[in-house]
C-alpha cells in the first residue's frame, strides 16, 4: 500500500465535495492510503499573503509542522487543491531560500509549541502522485469503462504547473500530465492551448467583470474546439467555471453550456463506479448530456483512418517531449 499524508483544504468538504467523494472512490482500486493531517487549518488562499508576510507563512507552516508528526514511513504531503498545494510548497521553499523568514516563522510556531524545518516534507499535488507514482499503466489497467467518445479539454489551471519550485512538471505552459491521464482513461482529449490560463481566481469575488472575461475566454475556446466538457484538477477552477458560468453568460449575452468535472470523477467513471458515488450531479452546469456519450458500455471501436492524400506541405518539426526537455536542461 502506498501511504501519503493528505492536506484536503477547506473546499474539499464544501464547494468541492464532489472532488473528495470521487477521490475516496478511486483510492482502493489504486491501492492508495491517504492519511489526513490532524487538525489542519486553512492555507490562507491568495488572501493572507496580500495582507502580511510572517502571519501568512506561519498559518501555512502550522500545517507542515503538524504533518511532520505523522511522518510514519512517508514524507510526502498530498494536496488535491492547486492553491493549497502552491501555498504549502511555497512556504517550504521560501523558508529555505530566505533563512530569516524561516527563523521568524519558526519563532511564531514556537508560540504554539510547534516547529518546522524547511525541506523536511515533500509537498505534491494529487495528480503528480497519480501520474508519476501510481503510473499511467496501473491506471490504464483499472479502466473497465473506457471514456471513448467523450470529448474533453484538459484544464490544468495556473497554480499547479507554476511557479514549480521543485521542477515537477513537464512544462510550465503546456504540461501534458492531465492529457496523458485522460487519454489513459480512453477519453478523446482535445489539444487545449488555454490549459494553464487563469480561471479568474478570487476576481469572481472582487472584480467580477474581470473574472467573467477570463471565464469567457476559457469556455469559448473549449466550445470552439468541440469539447463536451472541461476537466479540472483544482476546486477554485471548478467553482469559477461552474458556478459563475451563467453569470458570465448573462454579462456577455452568450449561451455557453460547458460542464466542468474533476479528473477524479472521470477516473471513477472509467473504473466502473456509479456516478452518484462520484458527486456527479452536484455541478451547476450539468454534465448529464455530455456523459450520455459514454452511456454505452461497449467501447466505441475506432475506425482505421482512411489513407490520407499525401501532404504536400512542409514537414513540421518534431514535437517537444519531456525526456528531451530533461536532457536539454542538464546542459
Amino acid at each position: 500500500m502506498n501511504k501519503y499524508l493528505l492536506y484536503p483544504g477547506c473546499s474539499m468538504d464544501s464547494s468541492a465535495k464532489a472532488y473528495m467523494e470521487s477521490l475516496n472512490e478511486i483510492l482502493e482500486p489504486l491501492d492508495l492510503h491517504l492519511e489526513e493531517i490532524e487538525d489542519w487549518n486553512c492555507c490562507g488562499a491568495t488572501e493572507y499573503l496580500g495582507i502580511n508576510l510572517i502571519p501568512a507563512y506561519s498559518l501555512i507552516a502550522r500545517n507542515l509542522a503538524l504533518a511532520t508528526k505523522q511522518m510514519d514511513g512517508t514524507r510526502t504531503v498530498v494536496a488535491p487543491c492547486s492553491a493549497c498545494y502552491l501555498n504549502l510548497a511555497k512556504a517550504d521553499y521560501y523558508m529555505q531560500e530566505r533563512p530569516t523568514l524561516g527563523a521568524k516563522v519558526n519563532e511564531a510556531l514556537a508560540a504554539g509549541g510547534l516547529e518546522y524545518k524547511a525541506g523536511t516534507l515533500d509537498v505534491r499535488h494529487l495528480i503528480d502522485v497519480l501520474v508519476y507514482d501510481v503510473g499511467l499503466d496501473t491506471i490504464r489497467s483499472k479502466v473497465v469503462r473506457p471514456l471513448s467518445g467523450l470529448k474533453v479539454v484538459p484544464y490544468m489551471g495556473c497554480m499547479l504547473p507554476r511557479p514549480d519550485y521543485q521542477h515537477r512538471w513537464s512544462d510550465h505552459e503546456h504540461p501534458t500530465e492531465l492529457d496523458d491521464l485522460l487519454r489513459a482513461l480512453g477519453a478523446d482529449v482535445i489539444d487545449y492551448p488555454l490549459t494553464t490560463e487563469c480561471c479568474g481566481g478570487h476576481m469572481t469575488q472582487i472584480g467580477p467583470e474581470t473574472a467573467f472575461e477570463l471565464i469567457r475566454r476559457l469556455v469559448a475556446d473549449a466550445d470552439e474546439r468541440g469539447a463536451q466538457m472541461m476537466v479540472t484538477v483544482c476546486p477554485m477552477c471548478q467553482m469559477n467555471i461552474d458556478a459563475y458560468q451563467n453569470e458570465a453568460n448573462h454579462f456577455f449575452g452568450t449561451n455557453y453550456h460547458m460542464p466542468i468535472l474533476f479528473f477524479t470523477q472521470l477516473m471513477g467513471l472509467a473504473f466502473g463506479k456509479e456516478p452518484g458515488d462520484l458527486g456527479i450531479g452536484v455541478e451547476l452546469v450539468s454534465a448529464r448530456n455530455a456523459l450520455a456519450n459514454i452511456g454505452v458500455e461497449v467501447p466505441v471501436t475506432q475506425e482505421p483512418a482512411a489513407p490520407r492524400k499525401k501532404d504536400e506541405g512542409l514537414p513540421m518539426p518534431r514535437r517537444w517531449t519531456r525526456h528531451e526537455g530533461k536532457k536539454e536542461a542538464v546542459k
Binding site: 486553512c42 523568514l101 504554539g112 510547534l114 472584480g207 451563467n246 452536484v282
Partner: protein, 198 residues
C-alpha cells in the same frame, strides 16, 4: 540599511536614496525578489491575463518603484488585479518574483491606506478574519458579508447560484472550526508581533 549586493552595484544602484523604495519592497517580499534585475522588457505586462484592466502594467510599476514614486505605486490598482497565475514569473528572463512583489505591494498599500478601491482589501481582510476566527475558511459567511457590503445589487442575480450551491450541499450554513484554535491564535499573535518588529 540597503545592502550593496553585487547585483545592485551592477544595476548601477549605489546610492541609498536610489534604493530606498525598491529596496524596501524587495526586502519585504518572501524569497529573493530579484526586483533590481528588471530590464523593462515587458514580458510580465505581455503575459498578464488581466492587463487590460490594470492602470499600470507590472513593468511600469517596477519602473515607478525605481523612480521612488511611492504614492503612485501604492494607489495603483495593478497589485489588486493580480490573479497569481504566475505566467509572468516563469517567463521573466530575469527571474523576478513578480507575483510575490504584488503581494508585498498590497500589504504596503493597506498599511499606508492608499488603495483606491476597497473591495479587494476588504475581501482579503474578511477572508482572513474568518480564518483567524475558525481556522478554516467559511464560504457562506464570507460571501454574505462581502456581497452585502460591496455588491448588494449583484445579490439578486447571485441568488440562484447560491441556492444551487446550498441545495446541492456545496455550501454549509455553519462554519467549521479546527480543534486547537487557541494554538493557531497564539501562533498568529506571535507572528504579528514579529511582523511589526521586522
Amino acid at each position: 540599511m540597503p545592502q550593496m549586493t553585487d547585483e545592485r552595484i551592477r544595476a548601477g544602484l549605489t546610492r541609498e536614496e536610489d534604493l530606498s523604495l525598491l529596496h524596501e519592497v524587495s526586502m519585504k517580499t518572501a524569497g529573493v525578489s530579484h526586483l533590481e534585475m528588471c530590464i523593462q522588457c515587458g514580458t510580465c505586462g505581455g503575459s498578464c491575463p488581466v492587463a487590460m484592466d490594470m492602470e499600470h502594467t507590472p513593468r511600469m510599476l517596477f519602473a515607478m518603484l525605481r523612480a521612488g514614486m511611492r504614492e503612485e505605486v501604492l494607489r495603483s490598482n495593478t497589485p489588486w488585479l493580480c490573479v497569481s497565475c504566475y505566467h509572468c514569473v516563469v517567463r521573466c528572463p530575469q527571474e523576478v518574483h513578480i507575483a510575490d512583489v504584488m503581494y508585498t505591494l498590497k500589504g504596503m498599500a493597506i498599511q499606508a491606506k492608499l488603495y483606491t478601491d476597497s473591495t479587494a482589501p476588504h475581501f482579503s481582510q474578511t477572508f482572513v478574519d474568518m480564518v483567524e476566527a475558525y481556522g478554516r475558511s467559511y464560504e457562506m459567511g464570507l460571501a454574505s458579508r462581502h456581497y452585502l457590503r460591496h455588491f448588494p445589487l449583484r445579490l439578486p442575480s447571485m441568488m440562484p447560484m447560491g441556492l444551487g450551491m446550498i441545495t446541492k450541499g456545496r455550501m454549509t450554513i455553519t462554519p467549521k472550526k479546527i480543534k486547537h484554535l487557541d494554538q493557531l491564535k497564539s501562533i498568529l499573535r506571535r507572528a504579528k508581533q514579529l511582523e511589526l518588529t521586522s
